[in-house]
Subunit: 168 residues, 2 copies
DNA sequence: GAAAAATAGTTTAGGCTTAAAGTAATTTCA
DNA sequence: TGAAATTACTTTAAGCCTAAACTATTTTTC
């Protein structure tokens, strides 16, 4: 309905710029979702097949790997963009596998610091090496500069989303 | 491996093209993951808040909305990129809400056709309208042509991934 | 046409995830 | 200082999701 109006007003822009349509945005969102899902499913499959590990556990270990002194559960949940309760469960399972350790925070008795054990560091190193190659192979059709450009544009999208989410 | 060659040949590109590094690809993957997660979390939150519905249910209804004659569970699971068992469960819950119906396939007695009920169509229409505006607002900082360009690049990435996944 | 293979869907066990409510410790501030 | 608010984390209930094993039916193959 609105489509007809704008087409009448602005013959140049045609359907593409039609207000209230938002086809391009929806299309982008569906594409983003599908692409992400495709990669994620494959990574999950390989992590399980090769290392009998899940993506969330791999993610958590990846976070810890960057902080040799460990981090609190709250910090982890922030960085992983998941709830505290989720982290509690993941930490429990990784503790059982002895790839991480948990100790009381020195000054704040509510808080705990988790970090990779030696076993965890070794295990993660092995996984990260292959993981890196999987991504490289999957992204192989893109040139270096295409990767950089795409990263940049996604950065802009991310900023756009953040603005909208914060405002609402 | 081919990368090494090219790095040797092209001294200008230096670290950026360092072989076995793959920083740009990893960075892109993390950015993709984070962006997707940000949007998805917000959409889930709003769907729940406004319509007391989950994203998977919304997705399933969106698939059916495009096929007035309905589709089989297998077709659904393919389009949604999830397992058959997952669809079975979702369909059960949506049946209970009476927004979809299920009937035997005419010629293949293993198969079932599900489609939106009138109630389901009405409900989905309401949700889709708002959903579209949420996406439009979240993507608002991007111009129309940026959306199109980003969609195109993600298409290339998707193709790249498909090639790698199919080969392996 | 009957055995074998493939297909459509369901069930099961287990992990992931969330929101909401709960516990314990710390901080704020009146 | 001590009550109120906040913070860090855990628990719980319910839904999502998967792989693997299963049932029922259809298709293939000999």
């Amino acid at each position: 309905m609105e489509l007809e109006q704008s087409a009448a007003l602005d013959a140049e822009s045609k359907i593409a710029d039609a207000p209230g349509d938002h086809k391009a945005e929806l299309r982008l969102w569906l594409r983003l979702l599908a692409t992400n899902s495709l990669i994620e499913t494959e990574i999950r499959r390989r992590l399980r097949e090769r290392f009998d590990v899940t993506l969330p556990r791999f993610d958590l270990m990846a976070q810890l790997e960057r902080k040799p002194h460990g981090m609190t559960l709250g910090e982890l949940s922030q960085r992983m963009m998941v709830t505290n309760g989720n982290v509690t469960g993941l930490v429990d399972r990784l503790l059982a596998e002895e790839v991480i350790s948990r100790k009381q925070h020195k000054s704040d008795r509510r808080s705990h610091i988790v970090s990779l054990t030696e076993k965890g560091r070794r295990q993660f190193a092995r996984m990260a090496k292959e993981h890196k190659d999987w991504i490289a192979a999957m992204f192989g059709e893109l040139t270096q500069s295409e990767c950089v450009a795409l990263t940049k544009m996604l950065g802009k999208l991310k900023t756009s989303v953040r603005i909208a989410v914060t405002q609402s």
